[in-house]
Amino acid sequence: MHNTPLAGLVALGQTGVFGGAAEKIHVDRLPFLKRRQHFMWAGKDADGREVYAVWMRLDGVILTRLIESFCELHHISREQYAVHQVPNPPDFRLRLVVLAYQLGLFGVARWLLQRTRGPGKTRVPRLAGVD
């Protein structure tokens, strides 16, 4: 989870959608990058676990509590899920992308994102990682 669509990219990175030859991100083919808030299914990771991404302009602590509250409400145990806050990316250009998103400059963010990765360059989801 994050307060920008970076959460979606990271989640897709976890499920292997990006990586190797497929790591080039076609921004136009990822409509979720335009969304200010979203809850999306990203697929399954290598261990068969379901991976979801959620982002919105919301304090990460409150978002985590909301998720935990829902699970408590429905008696879903902590063993059944894990919540990961996407950390700030180490890559400078990705930080610019995040900043643009946080400032509400979605067009600029996607424009930057389109130019952030490429063959031999930053592997967006991998470097962003999850903690």
Binding site: Q37, H38, F39, M40, W41, E50, Y52, V54, M56, R57, L58, D59, V61, I62, L63, T64, R65, L66, I67, E68, S69, F70, C71, E72, L73, H74, I76, Q80, Y81
Partner: protein, 152 residues
């Protein structure tokens, strides 16, 4: 069914609504300040409780009633809960009700003074005054919800 009343702090309008829904407060009589302050969670929750759901009891039909503080993120509970219901394939519906629509300036100012600044004496005076004035709106909202869930 689970019904969650939510507002900014989860401690004034949502608690009032939950209290009316569970009939801790009767709908046809405006409660006194002492009755309001004696309510569980009324003017008691603060920052460390934002995002946490608190159980408030059941109505006569067995529906479970909860309150939630979500700061100014009105859409957050709906979006997160909707996504998680789908993710965990939860069949039981959760009814989310935003009670901030019933707020007046007295409740906002009083709530901020009491919970935000810790000025309980003056804050509670103002927030109970505001609750007194807002009570008919709260009752109207709750009765609409009760009719809706009872008819399902």
């Amino acid at each position: 069914m689970k019904i969650v009343y939510h507002c900014y702090g989860g401690t004034h309008s949502s608690v009032l609504a939950a209290a009316v829904h569970t009939r801790r407060l009767v709908p046809d009589r405006v409660p006194s300040p002492d009755e309001l302050l004696a309510l569980p969670l009324y003017d008691k929750q603060d920052g460390k409780d934002y995002g946490r759901i608190a159980a408030y009891g059941r109505d006569e039909a067995g529906n479970e009633i909860f309150v939630l503080g979500r700061r100014s993120y009105v859409q957050a509970p709906e979006m997160v809960f909707c996504g998680l219901r789908s993710a965990f394939k939860v069949a039981e519906p959760v009814k989310l009700v935003d009670t901030a629509t019933t707020l007046n300036w007295q409740m906002k100012v009083g709530g901020y003074l009491s919970r935000g600044l810790g000025l309980k004496a003056i804050g509670r005076l103002i927030v109970t005054w505001g609750s007194h004035l807002a009570y008919p709106r709260v009752v109207s909202l709750v009765e609409t919800i009760r009719k809706e869930v009872m008819s399902n």
